[in-house]
Every structure is written in structure tokens, then in C-alpha cells.
């Protein structure tokens, strides 16, 4: 009746780990609970970074939103807040991410398309009107041009009467992952890292409640990486930023606790949960042993997890609601601090209001109906999960060693394109496995219906009129500002870049003078140069 073990199909996870049908006490014998798990909220934080986790406070719900004009985006922000979302996650359009103004010919067709357009401080004032920046925690998904956007954010908060010390929020500000995946880079590798150092230093000294950098394994995995590569490359990147902070004369405990992480959730449920538990343990050990960090805040790996775009399908889009529900479940079982889910229509379009609401409701239902907040780390102690956590930790360590030993460290690996090549080749293997049916995607390569249901999703309407308004506002700002002050402020930005001084004070002066993002970035490119992409297939 029961199949012989040798007849069972082999199960091999994406990370290359072979899974047995049953686990027991012998498999976890090497795990020392005191050394390897600890109590929740205590070193090495395998079970979670807080003592009571969601029993004290559920995870933060932070859907990604932003499109069109700042006024449209402001409307979506208010909609999400009215429906119980407690934090914002802001999307910017590609011209903004690339430091081009809305009236730049290179921005043609892209203004307001995948996020909101920001040209000057005036736009930020409109986007955040009526949103108190000391109470709502705002995450800005911006990278290469972070110093300018952060400066605008500071200026808006100050105008709301909020001091720098009270400003909450996060800038994504992880340029190394932009070179690996996502691609919104501008300047060469070294000056790009220096700019991140500037924001880390500025926040450490003036904005203690702000997270200047959120290191993203997320986009690396979305670009094709395995779960092990996702964590390994993210940690290698985070180490580089810690090194940059130390080079400014800061002590590790003064700033490293304000570096957070952004990770991806799709694929095998158990592999993801074990990945996060392993990552927390490894980060704590790494910060203690390599950087001699002492403050618990510095040792705790804080994260936003969820998303899962790479796991969603174009085919039968409603199935993505089910996938998203499980991604949220995984994120909760993994002890995430913040959660954001990709929406079911996101493979097609900017999410509709209804799709955004379904994602928010998914998180609320899990948190408030299903008992996910009752008990800390409910999977802790499971033979399988603890065994897998240890396996993943060892493989992450090995991959990090490969970055150092084979590629000369992450900065060199990115500069020469080694990581990009490894991830692209992995993406090719993943695609081949899906197309051959070896990796099952329901509704795509299995149980596929003859009549395609594709195209049923309502597409987000890109509004050209709003863009005309955007360009009009830009022209109006340019004609009413103090031109002499703009020139002087831009000269100060140029000087700070050339002298390798912290650019933040000059940035704040420039944005307050209503210098445009395009003007600021043009000056920076002039001094810092532009990245030349190493193309390795």
C-alpha cells in the first residue's frame, strides 16, 4: 500500500536542498536551542526580533502606491489610510527615478506612468498634503536620486512643523541592487555608494527615527536569484554600506540599526520561512562577530517582506489572489515587521483601487481572523523547519564566501557584472523549468484552459492631461522662483560632489530654492560621471 521511499519523486528546493519525506529529532540534534534559537527578542533572534511579536502589535501594512500626478497619488494615499492602512509606500515614475524632469525629451511617454512624477519641492508638497509625516510612516521607493528626494521630504516635514528628529520613514536607497536588478542607476558604482554614505551619515546625526536604507534582496530575487542568493547578495551589499558608514567616523551602533531589509516571498512555503529565520540568525552573528556591534537594535534584522511579483501569473489572474494570501501567510509565519503584497492584476497594470483593497484586506483577514498574531514563531521547534533553517544558513554563508573569494567582494562583483551574470543565468534556468513543466505553475503549464482568460483585467488608464498639468506646474515654478538662489544652490551641490563633502546640506538648500530634480542631477552627473554597464550574458 505505502510506496517504498525509493519510488517517491525527489524533492529539491530552488536553493538546491534535497528534502526528505519525514524529519525527526535526529535531524535537529546539531541545533542548540540556547545558541541557535534563543528567546524571541533575544540573540540570535531566529524566533523574531521582538519578545511578543504580533501579540503586542501586528505587522505594519504598507501597500505600494503612486501614479500620475502628485494630486492623484495624494488621493490614493488618503484612500488607503481611510481603509486602515497605517503606512505608505510611494512609487515614483521612471523619469523621477532617473533624475529627469517631466519636460525632458527623454521622459516622453513615461511621465506619471509607473509612479508619481516629482520635478520640484512643489510636487512633494501636493503629494503629502494633509498627511502628517510624524505619524504616518512613509517609505519612498527611490534610489539613485535619494539625496534630492530625501531633502524634499525633510523640507515638506519642516513646513508641516515637524522637526527632523521626529520624521519617520524609509528611503529604499539601495543602489547596488539597482545595478543587479531593477536598473534605475545613474552614477558610477563608487560615487553611488558614497551618496548612500551621505544619507546614512546625515540621518545618523539629524534624523534618528528615519531608516535611510532598505537593502533589497527583493529585486535580486525578482531578477532570477534563488532564495539563498537573495539573502547572500543582500547581506554582502549591507556589509558594504556598513563599511561606508564606518568610514564616516560613525560607530557601528550609531547607524547600522537603521539599515533595514526588503525581501521577496514566493515559491516553496517552507523554504521561505526557513530563509527568513536563517537570515535573522546570520545577520545577528555577522554584526556581532564582524563589526563588534553591541546594541540589540543593531543586531536585529528588520524587514519588509511580501510582494511576490515573481510568483504571480498573467494567466488566470484571479489565482494571484490565492497566491498573495499564501505569501502573506508566509510573511507572517516568518516574523516580518512590515508587509506589502503585489496585487492580482499587477502582472498587467498599475493595480486598480479594488485590487489594492483586496491585498490590504488579505493582510487584515490574516491578522484579525486567523490567529496569526496569537503566538510568537509558531513554527519554531518544528523538526523540518529547524533543519531547513540550518541548511539555508550554511548555504547563504557559502554564497557570501563565493562573492568575496571568487569575485573580490560585492562592489567589484557588481562593477564587473559577475552577480548580474549569475542572476541572469539563474533566471534562464527558472524559465526553462517552467516551460518544460518541471516547475509547476497552475493555470500556466498545468491545468491550462484552452480558452485563455488573459485580457480580462481592467488596465490602468494613463492620463496625458495630468501630464500636461505636470509640465505646466513645472514651468510655473521655474518662472516664479529666485533664479539667483537656484544658481547659488546648484553651485553648492556641484562643490559638495567635487570635494566629496556630504551632499545633504547643499541638497536641502537646492530643493528649498525649487531647483528641479533634473537640474540637480545634471550637475551631479557632470561631476560624478555616469555608470557604464558591463554586459555579460
Amino acid at each position: 500500500m505505502a510506496a517504498d521511499k525509493s519510488e517517491l519523486r525527489r524533492v529539491v528546493l530552488e536553493s538546491g536542498i534535497e528534502v526528505a519525506p519525514v524529519y525527526g529529532p535526529a535531524d535537529v540534534a546539531p541545533v542548540d536551542p540556547a545558541r541557535d534559537l534563543g528567546e524571541p527578542g533575544e540573540f540570535p533572534f531566529t524566533r523574531g526580533i521582538h519578545k511578543l511579536m504580533y501579540r503586542a502589535r501586528p505587522w505594519t501594512m504598507r501597500q505600494y502606491a503612486g501614479f500620475g500626478s502628485p494630486a492623484e497619488t495624494n488621493g490614493r494615499f488618503r484612500f488607503l489610510i481611510e481603509n486602515g492602512q497605517d503606512a505608505l509606500n510611494v512609487a515614483f515614475d521612471l523619469p523621477t527615478q532617473m533624475g529627469l524632469d517631466s519636460d525632458d525629451p527623454r521622459a516622453e511617454g513615461e511621465v506619471g506612468r509607473v509612479g508619481m512624477a516629482i520635478d520640484t519641492l512643489r510636487d512633494m508638497e501636493v503629494a503629502f498634503a494633509g498627511i502628517p509625516l510624524d505619524r504616518v510612516s512613509v517609505s519612498l521607493t527611490i534610489n539613485a536620486v535619494t539625496p534630492a528626494i530625501l531633502a524634499m521630504y525633510v523640507a515638506v516635514a519642516e513646513r508641516q512643523g515637524i522637526s527632523r528628529a521626529r520624521i519617520r520613514g524609509t528611503t529604499q536607497n539601495d543602489i547596488l541592487k539597482e545595478f543587479i536588478g531593477r536598473g534605475a542607476w545613474i552614477f558610477p558604482v563608487e560615487p553611488s555608494i558614497r551618496l548612500i554614505g551621505d544619507t546614512i551619515e546625515f540621518c545618523a546625526r539629524e534624523m534618528p527615527n528615519y531608516y535611510p536604507t532598505s537593502v533589497c534582496g527583493y529585486h535580486i530575487r525578482e531578477s532570477g536569484a534563488t532564495p539563498v542568493q537573495e539573502i547572500a547578495y543582500a547581506f554582502a551589499i549591507a556589509r558594504a554600506y556598513v563599511g561606508e558608514g564606518l568610514s564616516r567616523g560613525l560607530a557601528v551602533d550609531e547607524f547600522a540599526g537603521r539599515i533595514s531589509f526588503n525581501f521577496d516571498v514566493f515559491g516553496n512555503l517552507w523554504e521561505q520561512v526557513a530563509k527568513f529565520r536563517a537570515a535573522r540568525r546570520l545577520w545577528a552573528r555577522l554584526m556581532r562577530d564582524e563589526f563588534a556591534a553591541q546594541k540589540p537594535e543593531t543586531l536585529k534584522m528588520k524587514m519588509i517582506a511580501g510582494g511576490g511579483g515573481g510568483g504571480l501569473t498573467i494567466e488566470e489572474p484571479e489565482n494571484n489572489i490565492v497566491r498573495g494570501t499564501v505569501y502573506a501567510l508566509i510573511s507572517a509565519l516568518s516574523g516580518t515587521q512590515t508587509m506589502a503584497l503585489c496585487c492580482y492584476d499587477e502582472a498587467y497594470t498599475i493595480p486598480s483601487e479594488n485590487a489594492s483593497l483586496i491585498s490590504l484586506r488579505t493582510m487584515q483577514i490574516l491578522a484579525e481572523e486567523m490567529g496569526l498574531c496569537d503566538t510568537v514563531d509558531p513554527l519554531g521547534g518544528s523538526y523540518y523547519v529547524e533543519w531547513l533553517t540550518t541548511e539555508l544558513e550554511q548555504r547563504i554563508v557559502a554564497e557570501m564566501r563565493r562573492v568575496d573569494e571568487d569575485w573580490g567582494g560585492i562592489v567589484n562583483a557588481v562593477r564587473e557584472g559577475h552577480v548580474q551574470q549569475a542572476v541572469a543565468r539563474q533566471a534562464y534556468e527558472v524559465e526553462r523549468k517552467i516551460q518544460s513543466g518541471e516547475t509547476v505553475k497552475v493555470g500556466v503549464n498545468k491545468y491550462r484552459r484552452a480558452a485563455s482568460s488573459a485580457g480580462e483585467v481592467k488596465l490602468h488608464e494613463h492620463c496625458p492631461q495630468a501630464m500636461e498639468e505636470q509640465r505646466r506646474r513645472l514651468a510655473e515654478v521655474k518662472s516664479t522662483r529666485d533664479a539667483a538662489e537656484v544658481r547659488a544652490a546648484l553651485a553648492e551641490v556641484r562643490e559638495a560632489c567635487a570635494q566629496k563633502k556630504n551632499v545633504m546640506p547643499a541638497m536641502i538648500r537646492a530643493v528649498k530654492a525649487y531647483a528641479t530634480l533634473g537640474e540637480i542631477v545634471a550637475v551631479m552627473k557632470d561631476v560624478l560621471g555616469e555608470y557604464r554597464e558591463p554586459v555579460r550574458l
Binding site: 536598473g183 542607476w185 526553462r432 488573459a454
Partner: protein
Amino acid sequence: MDPAPLPGQPVRVLVAKPGLDGHDRGAKVVALALVRAGCEVIYTGLHKSIEQIVAAAADEDVDVVGISILSGAHVHLTRALLERLRAEGLDGVRVLVGGNIPHADRARLLELGAAAVFPTGANLDEISRFVVDLPPRARRCNA
């Protein structure tokens, strides 16, 4: 004017990322599939202007330009690419469009003059077969 490629000579393909969109996973996967199918593939890297792509197509003497767009700006960029290729006398170069292309826009891209549209999830073998099977002389018949 160009010498006719010999029968059996590999198809030369420029895989390009026009505009500001930085998502290149699909472009690289297709490029790797074409390499394995025996094509000679040149990948431009990100953020290329239409002018840069057409100049590369001419310099590299390619038969096919494949562009990948995920930002939604595909109609604008495809039209601009085709116009520029014609203006430079490269009408014989076939244009393939990949990426996040809604159903409603696929016929429109073909009407504009794209040789084929391969949206997200398109079969890699089908893409390779389409490129490899292009009639050899049709590839550079504009001369």
C-alpha cells in the same frame, strides 16, 4: 549593397532595452535562449535611446532587433524605432517586441510594422524558431 549572408550563416540579433525601464530579466533570458539556438546576440544594456539602438543595429549589421519594454510605453517606443530604422534605410531589419504588452496593443504593434510580438511568458523555443526560420535573404533585402 551589403553582401548577401551565406546560407547557414547565423542570424544576428540585437536585444535592446529602449527608454528608462530597467527591468531586463526577460531581455536577458531571451538573449540567452537565442545564443543557445545558435544566433549571434548583442545585448545593448539598459536605458538606450532609439538613436543609440538604430546606430548599434547598423554597426553590428543585425538581421533582427528585439526590444523589451515593461513600463507601458511600448507603442510609443516601437513606433519611434520603426520610423528611425526606415529613416536610416534599415527597413529590412525585423523588429520583435517583448515585455508586458496588453492584448489590445498586440495587433497595433503588428500594424505599426513589428514582425512579431512575444509578450511575458512567451515560449522561448517559439521565439528562437521564429528568429532562426526567418528567410535568409528577406533579412537584408532592403539593400
